[in-house]
C-alpha cells in the first residue's frame, strides 16, 4: 500500500497513471478487434490460414460495384467538399457582419447523423417527395419521377452525392476555419506592404500556410468517405452497394462474420493507404505554422 501511494504521489509517474485508462481502453477496443478482424478474415473456424474468404468476397456479384461506387463517391465528393468548404471558410475569415451566425448555420449538419441526413434527402427525392412536387409546379413533370429506383440508378447515385455533400462538408469547414484563424495577420500585412493584391495574398500567403489544415481535412474526409453507409441504405437500400454496406449485408443477411470482417480489413487497408499517400505527396513544412 505504501509503495503504491508513493508511486501515485510521484509527479514523474503521475502523467502515466492518468494516461493508463485511455491506453488500456484503446488497446481493448481498437487493437484487439484489429487482430480479431484479421483472424476472422484469414483463418477458418478450425484455425487454418486461408484466402478463401477474400476470394468469396472478391468474386461475389456485389463486390466490383461496391468498390466502384465507393471510389466514385469519394473521388467526386472530396474535391467538391474541399472547394465548398474553402469558399465558405474564406468568406467567414473576412469577418463580415453576421459571419459567426453564418458559421453556426453551416456547421449544423455536423450534428446530423448519416442515417438522418439520408432520410432528410429521401423526403426530397422520394416518389412522394418535394422535388417531384416542385418539378410538377414548374410544369416539367406530369407524373411523379422515380429518382430512387433501379431504372434510374444515375439519379439514385446523384441523390446520395447531394445528401453526402450537404451533410459532410461541415467537418472540412471547421477544420479549415480553425486553420485560417491560426494564420498570423503579420504575414498578410507584410504581403500587403510589399504590394500584393488580394488574389496574390490568397494564393501566395494564405493557401500555403493553410496547407497543414487542408491536408488534415483531406485525410479525414477521404477516410470518412470510404466508410459511407447509412446515407446509402436510407436512399437506395441495396440498389447502390458500397463497401461498408456490403459488410453490413454479409452479417445482417447471411450471418457470415468472415466476409463481413474481410470488408472491414479492406476498408482499413484503404484508409491506411490514403493517409500514407496524403502524407507522402502533400508534404507540409511544419515550421510554416509556428
Amino acid at each position: 500500500m505504501g509503495f503504491l501511494r508513493r508511486l501515485l504521489r510521484t509527479d514523474t509517474l503521475l502523467p502515466y497513471w492518468l494516461l493508463l485508462p485511455t491506453v488500456v481502453y484503446l488497446i481493448i477496443f481498437f487493437v484487439l478487434p484489429l487482430f480479431q478482424a484479421f483472424s476472422l478474415s484469414f483463418k477458418t473456424d478450425d484455425g487454418q490460414l486461408t484466402l478463401k474468404y477474400f476470394e468469396r468476397m472478391v468474386y461475389d456479384v456485389g463486390f466490383m460495384d461496391a468498390l466502384k461506387n465507393t471510389f466514385l463517391l469519394a473521388i467526386i465528393l472530396v474535391p467538391l467538399q474541399l472547394i465548398t468548404a474553402l469558399v465558405i471558410a474564406l468568406l467567414i475569415n473576412t469577418n463580415f457582419r453576421g459571419s459567426r451566425l453564418f458559421l453556426y448555420i453551416c456547421a449544423i449538419p455536423l450534428g446530423i447523423s448519416d442515417l438522418a441526413s439520408g432520410l432528410v434527402w429521401f423526403s426530397i427525392f422520394s416518389e412522394h417527395g418535394y422535388l417531384n412536387s416542385l418539378l410538377y409546379k414548374l410544369g416539367i413533370l406530369s407524373q411523379p419521377f422515380h429518382f430512387l429506383s433501379y431504372v434510374h440508378l444515375p439519379w439514385t447515385f446523384g441523390a446520395i452525392l447531394a445528401a453526402e455533400h450537404w451533410r459532410a462538408t461541415a467537418i472540412v469547414l471547421v477544420v479549415l476555419v480553425a486553420g485560417l484563424q491560426m494564420i498570423s495577420k503579420d504575414y498578410l500585412e507584410a504581403a500587403e506592404v510589399m504590394g500584393a493584391n488580394k488574389l496574390q495574398r490568397l494564393w501566395y500567403v494564405v493557401l500555403p500556410l493553410l496547407k497543414p489544415s487542408l491536408q488534415a481535412a483531406l485525410i479525414i474526409r477521404t477516410i470518412f468517405a470510404f466508410e459511407v453507409f447509412a446515407v446509402v441504405i436510407a436512399l437506395a437500400g441495396n440498389l447502390v452497394p458500397v463497401l461498408a454496406s456490403q459488410s453490413y449485408w454479409w452479417y445482417a443477411l447471411y450471418r457470415n462474420l468472415h466476409i463481413a470482417a474481410a470488408y472491414g480489413v479492406l476498408l482499413m487497408t484503404l484508409s491506411v493507404l490514403v493517409t500514407w499517400g496524403y502524407l507522402r505527396f502533400l508534404r507540409t513544412r511544419e515550421e510554416a505554422l509556428r
Binding site: 477496443f29 423526403s123 412522394h128 411523379p144
Partner: protein, 273 residues
Amino acid sequence: MSSRYLWSKVLLYTIVIVISLWVLIPLVLIGLASFTPRHAIYQWPKPLLPNRFSAETMKFFLNAYGVLSSTLNSIWVAMLTIGFTLAIGAPAGYAIARFIFRGREAFRLGILATKMFPIPLLAIPLIVMFIKWGVYDSLLGVAFIHTAMALPFAVLITTSIFVSVPKDLEESAMTLGCSRMGAFLRVVLPLALPGLAAAAMFTFVISWNEVFAATVLTLHNRTLPAQILTSLEVSPVYFKFAGGFFMTIPAIIFMFFMRRYLLQMWGGMTAER
C-alpha cells in the same frame, strides 16, 4: 470606389444567403413533411407547402413498434457513454495539457491513428468478443463501442480545455497549501466545467448518431438509429420522414449550445498534428 464596395457587399451577402438556404431548406422540408397529415403525403400533385398541419404523422411514428423503447435505449447508451468517456478521457487530457513527459508525442499520434479504423473493422470482430463476454445485445456493449469512438475526441477536447485553464492559478493554490488533487477539484475543475459540459454534449451526439455498430451489436435492444435502419424496408414513407426529423432535433439543439466550442473541438483535433 464606394459603388464598387457596395457591389462587393451585395455579392458577399448573396453568396452567404444562398449557402445558408442550401443548409437550412432541407431541414425545413423534413420538418414540414413530418407534420403533414399521412394522406396528404401520398397526394399527387402534392402541394409544396402542406395546406394543413397535423401531429398525426409524428404521433404514428412515436407510437410505432419499438420507437419509444429504442429512444429510451439510445438515451441510456448515450448517458453511459458520456460517463465512461469523461471518466477515462479527461485524466488523459489533463496529463497532456499539464505535463511534458516521454511518450507524450507517441500517445498523441496513437490517438490520431484511431481515425484510420473503419467502424466495420471494429464492430464485426466485437460481435464475437461481446458474445464471449456476455454483453452482446446489451446497452452496456453498445456504450462500450461508442465510448471507444468518442474517447479520442474526448482526449483532444479535454486537452484543449485544460490548456485554457491558467497553470498559475493551480500552482498558487498548491503553494497556498492545497494538494494537487485539492487544487484540481477547487480551482481547475470549476473553470473547466463549461468546456467539459460541451465535451459531454459532443459525446452525446456521437452516440445518438451512431448506427453501424449499434445495429450489428444488438438484436432486440435496439437504439433508435438501429431500430429505424432495420425497419426501413418495411416502413411507409411518412414513418421515414418523421424518423428523420426526430433524429435531427437533439443534434440541432446540442449544436446550438456547443457553437462556441466548435472550432476548438474539430479544429483542435487536426491542428495538433
